[in-house]
Symmetry: C2
Subunit: 455 residues, 2 copies
């Protein structure tokens, strides 16, 4: 541990000495290092926190788990935090203020009031978007011009804005009409090769009107659709407009990255009955409690399956082999269903399938499950016969496996589709629902058939 | 179906009439539409395939599943395919040639030989990288200059390269020394505001040497680490250098997007026992076969658990309640383990944890599992007592649940860490291994304790 601490201190020293460059630490690294420091050496932690300039402070604060952010807003003076918020791009500033609001509403209000009027306006606009809307991921800082402007005057304006630190990470110039409606997007790589005496209209004509037609998202679009668009068209940034086509802001690829990674984590966690937000906290309690909720739901479904078994207690007493074999039927069903479920959840998330494909998707999944059901039913029928020497037992387990794997394929596909149809995240709770089906059908078909055929 | 077909034809018509712009289709959309067309109307399909220019043909071909690509290389003349490969960026050209090689080695050789010498050289370099190396994701097309060049001459060169279509999606100029070693990366947004009579050295000095120090990946770096770097530093593109620091190429964010999405899909699929590459095919057979392999492995582990139950057949005959309750112990263990497993697999993939954190991660996961184990063991003990009226049965199930959930947390964390240590994808097979542990421990502890305490 001391070795790790020393290493961290050394890295932090280097970072603060050398500034940006090959050896520097990302905001995420800084937050991580500060987290470890805080655990072991509060003084050193406070010392390095002090060293962060307002730019870095904001970027690091966004990456902090709640308990560290809470500590930060209690110990760092308001004016320094306000300055840090100002330095962030508008989307990040809004996020940070929202995180602070979740912890301490009054503090967030205080901070908001101490911001410049412009920032207040921007944040007020952005804060109203729902979590999954494109607007929530958009930054209002962008570089735009009118069609009749001369390139040289556009560049002069750009130079001033850059000097003032108003914009950064600019890849294209958005061209708007007099009503602010987005008309074109011209990449900087195209602008830089033109004669600066030309006006934008000439440039658009020369390059070809089609070429500069912009890809744009509407502010209320679902961010997952925007991410798909950015990915499919290999965009470096995408314009965001309102329903009337007025340019409001832009979404940069770093936000798309964050979205892709976070939503994949969310899917994997939700499929496993884990809450992604609770896991981010550093405390065991929140994560443990969120997991306990899913375990509780699972306990209830397990009790339902158990009560199905309970219906057949006399059958099991007569044939104890049934107790030995029944978990196999349930387990194979669960696995087959999970395969169909994972594929459906993921393809829905990446927009590879939608409701127009429902029949084809269900047909495909059920076919695979049914064919594998036939194969493994035959195999397991033979094994059961050899193991217990009762041919009818082999028949019973084979039939029940075909039934259960067929249902597994069907419900593994249907459950996420239905959840999606009701606008519920298809990854949430679908595993538990599916297991309930495969366990219930598995135990009921196996024990029911056994009672009917064997006794 | 006809309605869907008509819609697709209409969209394709629009695309080919209007060219790029708001209504256009991405290469992925085009491939998807062509796939549906091919299924229902071979003539129309051939007709639209014909209409693709060589630029689009290459981009669409990359998105095609194997059987369509196979059809394409059989029906489209070699020179048109070769031209399509030439038009792609070097990383995509290499990928496409590799896909073709997987289908028809001779055809790939023919195509390779008909490429221009420059393209041949570039592809030969890129094709040698392993799938997970940064080099495999890199394109060799980039914009670089020497430190003593005048900005105006750099821009003139850039203008010519753009006219020739040699480079696109350029966001920064890489500055190299006389040995080709990467020194600086200057964003276009900075270049465009400088006086073109300055030379690059002045610009770097004016902007600040620290500011232009480039982030770079080594060509043999693992792509997942590069993706984390791009994400953490919000980069729009990252330079790739060799071990000596010589600039080789760059990786753009679209490749990082693809990587993030593909690796998330791979993790979700692998956790569920699904092979991501087999699923991409349009045929049921390959996907079904790959899934059958995992079901077979699961059958073997289920047989192992069943044979554990078989050891206690006399105990179950004496107490049929055991058969009713035993799946609950196994199911709760499986779920608890899956929670720990999903969190560990995902955090390893996103580099949130590494081997230096092993103790802390295991401690956290085991603690959560153990505490939840205590809670649900108590609850289930009471339920079992009320259900069957045997207090010792409640004690037995409670103890076995604590044991099983503790093991579930421990092995759910340990299994992916060990797989990773041996350089095996932590998502592959870990679910099956885990279920084997939780089923075996669950059945053995529950039935063993029952035999010991109840009989």
């Amino acid at each position: 541990m001391t070795k790790e601490l020393d290493e961290i201190k050394e890295q932090l020293e280097k970072h603060f000495e050398e500034g940006t460059g090959l050896n520097d630490l990302s905001p995420a690294d800084l937050a991580e290092h500060l987290k470890v420091l805080k655990r072991h050496d509060e003084d050193e932690y406070a010392n390095y926190l002090e060293k962060l300039d307002s730019q870095s402070l904001g970027e690091v604060a966004i990456e902090m788990p709640d308990h560290m952010l809470k500590d930060l807003i209690q110990n760092v003076p308001n004016d320094k935090i306000a300055k840090a918020i100002e330095e962030l791009e508008s989307d990040d500033a809004t996020d940070l203020l929202q995180y602070i609001e979740d912890i301490d509403e009054d503090k967030a209000k205080e901070l908001f009031c101490s911001l410049e009027l412009d920032s207040q306006k921007e944040i007020s606009k952005l804060i109203n978007y729902a979590e999954n809307e494109a607007g929530a991921y958009m930054q209002t800082e962008l570089f735009s011009a009118k069609l009749d402007e001369k390139l040289s005057s556009v560049i002069s304006r750009f130079r001033v804005m850059k000097k003032l630190g108003e914009i950064e990470n600019i890849f294209q110039l958005f061209v708007v009409d007099k009503n602010g409606i987005l008309c074109y997007a011209i990449p900087l790589e195209d602008l830089i090769v033109y004669d600066f005496d030309l006006n934008l209209e000439n440039i658009v004509k020369d390059g070809g009107v089609e070429k500069y037609k912009p890809h744009a998202a509407t502010d209320t679009d679902d961010i997952s659709e925007v991410a798909t668009m950015v990915k499919d068209f290999d965009l470096s940034a995408i314009a965001v407009v309102n329903k009337a086509g007025v340019l409001l802001g832009r979404i940069t690829t770093d936000d798309i990255h964050d979205f892709l990674e976070e939503s994949a984590t969310e899917q994997i966690y939700n499929l496993a009955g884990v809450d992604d937000e609770a896991e981010e906290e550093d405390t065991l309690f929140k994560a443990g409690r969120a997991r306990a909720v899913w375990l509780f739901i699972n306990l209830i479904t397990a009790l339902i399956s158990a009560s199905i078994i309970g219906l057949f207690d006399k059958t099991i007493e007569a044939y104890v082999a049934l107790a030995i074999l029944m978990p196999i039927v349930a387990s194979m069903g669960g696995n087959t269903g999970t395969q169909a479920l994972a594929v459906t959840v993921r393809k829905l998330a990446t927009h590879e399938i939608d409701f127009s494909d429902v029949k084809r998707v269900i047909f495909k999944e059920v076919s695979i499950a049914f064919i594998n059901g036939l194969i493994f039913a035959t195999l397991m029928g033979i094994i059961a016969y050899i193991w217990f020497g009762v041919s009818l037992l082999g028949v019973v387990i084979a039939i029940s496996m075909v039934i259960n794997l067929f249902c597994a394929g069907f419900f593994g596909t249907l459950i996420p589709l239905v959840l999606k149809k009701f606008s519920i995240d298809p990854a949430v709770g679908s595993s538990v629902l599916l297991t309930t089906v495969t366990d219930t059908v598995g135990f009921f078909s196996f024990l029911g058939l056994a009672k009917w055929i064997l006794l």
